[in-house]
């Protein structure tokens, strides 16, 4: 409204969302140019978590590289170990015993569940549902307890390694796991009642951040974000690894490509993961958990190259490994799912959006900042 002849002009401001921001999960920064409450331009600014993994790995032997790789993505650490092990097994021609494949499947699904529950904490907090955050985090901690039981560590497990897994499951583990899974299934009903079916949540996410299938394909989007646009693609079905070929599970897909679709894909994946872990416990074959590789102090891997991939909680995770016949890693390049999501897709979706939805978009796309930077 004009007041006595003065003209109201709009002013563009530059705001920094992060790295220190209550809505930022992970150390990431977005430079926003806003006019009023609308974002005109967003520039993603990664690099706060860059440790130079690919360079540090080149100084390591294949055995020494093993504690490094789980730290590439702190929220979902086991997939990075899995692709590392798969790459070395392919280059060196190692066979993995069937029991180890089942244990790997179980560890990977537990990691997926803990990543999804962490997402639920962050997402619910972002939209104002703090209670769900508390529930989800506490629920996740029971899975972390199970990891503690089999691997000895809460966060960085270093469990999946070339040749199998580091140790077999202890007695009493299967019962505790069944109890935790039953608890999660009960809780999922509560989450639905309070969060996913909530009118306020629906108003906040319906139609927000729409990514069409054609755009998703153009930007190299994989994982849950692609499945939310209607395309059913999952590396576990396309190129089964570990024991997934023997598992019976569905790949949840939604249409629409908005935040609601992405949230529901994650919600349904949690159910499927519970289903897969139950099958693993039922069908687990007997045998050893590890096939011993050659002398770990001097393990020359034949020269060659390979690309291995798997489905992490966020999408297609892969590693391109090049070996030169010595015992040191020549090149290991990680393909991480958050790379296209966190930079170009985020910048595109944020244009024209309200400031209140910046943190929302970051979490809706399930962007993991440590992955992007490595």
């Amino acid at each position: 409204m004009n007041r006595g002849g003065t003209k109201m002009t709009k002013r563009q401001l530059t705001l920094y969302f992060g790295p220190q921001h209550i809505g930022m999960v992970g150390n990431f920064s977005i430079t926003l140019t806003v006019e009023g409450d609308t974002i005109q331009k967003a520039v993603a600014n990664p690099g706060f978590l860059h440790r130079g993994f690919e360079k540090m790995l080149e100084n390591c032997t294949y055995t020494q590289g093993f504690p490094y790789v789980c730290r590439i993505n702190v929220m979902d650490p086991d997939p990075c170990e899995q692709v590392y092990a798969m790459a070395i097994e392919e280059l060196a021609g190692l066979e993995v015993p069937p029991r180890a494949q089942y244990l790997r499947t179980m560890a990977l699904e537990m990691s997926r569940l803990s990543s999804h529950l962490l997402w639920l904490w962050a997402y619910a907090n972002e939209l104002g549902f703090d209670t769900i955050g508390h529930w989800a985090m506490a629920q996740r901690d029971y899975f972390i307890d199970l990891f503690d039981m089999i691997t000895g560590a809460r966060v960085y497990h270093i469990y999946i390694w070339p040749g199998g897994v580091r140790r077999d499951i202890p007695t009493g583990f299967a019962e505790k796991m069944q109890q935790t899974l039953a608890g999660l299934e009960d809780s999922l009903r509560d989450y639905d009642a309070v969060f996913f079916d909530n009118r306020v949540f629906r108003r906040r996410v319906d139609g927000v951040g729409v990514l069409s299938q054609e755009e998703a394909l153009r930007f190299g989007v994989t994982g849950g974000n692609l499945r939310a646009t209607g395309l059913e693609r999952d590396v576990r079905k396309e190129e089964p690894y570990a024991a997934y070929a023997e598992m019976d599970f569905e790949v949840p897909t939604m249409v629409g490509g908005d935040s609601y679709a992405r949230a529901m894909v994650i919600r349904k994946e949690m159910e499927q993961s519970v289903f897969i872990v139950r099958q693993v416990l039922d069908k687990m074959p007997a045998g050893s958990a590890w096939r011993r590789p050659p002398n770990p102090f001097k393990w020359n891997i034949p020269a060659g190259e390979t690309y291995v991939r798997m489905e992490s909680a966020r999408g297609e995770l892969g590693v391109y490994a090049v070996s030169d016949g010595t015992d040191k890693i020549y090149r290991m390049a990680y393909r991480v799912p958050s790379y296209p999501h966190g930079i170009l897709v985020l910048e595109k979706l944020l244009q024209g959006m309200n400031i209140a939805d910046v943190g929302h978009m970051l979490l809706s796309l399930n962007v993991a900042a440590p992955e992007i930077d490595r």
Partner: protein
């Protein structure tokens, strides 16, 4: 942790049973120095996810481990916080951000380094983008070792910090002002002169 809460007496009123947690000596102690008492039991942490250690912070601040019973809760802005937890390794870009954040926090403030990476570089000591010794760039009041430290370790650290506050042993913020040249020299070496010159000088308020 056994020293944290002292149940002095229980009482029963109908079918309600209660606990008395402070006795006269405690109350006298608190009234003698209410400033320390208030500060200890309301350590508000600046919410900044600096490194991989951040993965243990959500469990600590939520229902299962519940840091709020220690008075510790996350705070959105550094201006309203008095504890800065550097969770994990510090890359060069992050160092820039944490220097600005630390200087935005009002005195008295405490900085606790969480994990083995701020101590000596940890697993990333050969990295070209992570610093190795945090206390050369910012004043550290306490260290929590581990990769990753467990939530129990964080609570033990908080209780130790209380004892240090009682004994007036945490003067990191005073050391920073006194030795600002030393810190600035190290910061400039890593971050460049242009950035250091762009930081506004810390305002000193005499207490």
């Amino acid at each position: 942790m056994a020293n944290v809460i002292r149940v002095v007496r229980t009482y029963t009123r109908g079918d309600h049973r209660g606990l008395i947690l402070l006795d006269r000596a405690d109350i006298k102690k608190a009234l003698k120095d209410p400033h320390k008492w208030g500060e200890k039991y309301s350590l508000w942490v600046t919410y900044f996810c600096t490194g991989c250690g951040i993965i243990e912070i959500p469990p600590v601040i939520t229902a299962r481990w519940d840091a709020e019973r220690f008075g510790v809760k996350p705070m959105a802005t550094p201006r309203q916080a008095n504890l800065f937890l550097i969770t994990g390794y510090v890359s060069v870009k992050t160092l820039r951000a944490i220097i600005i954040t630390y200087e935005q926090m009002p005195d008295p403030k405490y900085l606790v380094a969480f994990g083995s990476c701020p101590i000596d570089g940890g697993l990333y000591y050969t990295s070209y983008n992570t610093i190795n010794h945090l206390d050369r760039y910012l004043p550290v009041d306490g260290w929590i070792a581990g990769c990753m430290p467990r939530p129990e370790a964080i609570f033990i650290a908080v209780t130790k910090l209380w004892k240090m506050i009682d004994g007036e042993m945490v003067d990191g913020y005073k050391r920073y002002r006194k030795n600002i040249d030393y810190y600035r020299k190290n910061q400039e070496r890593v971050l460049g002169r242009e950035f250091i010159e762009s930081i506004p000088p810390p305002v000193t308020v005499e207490t």
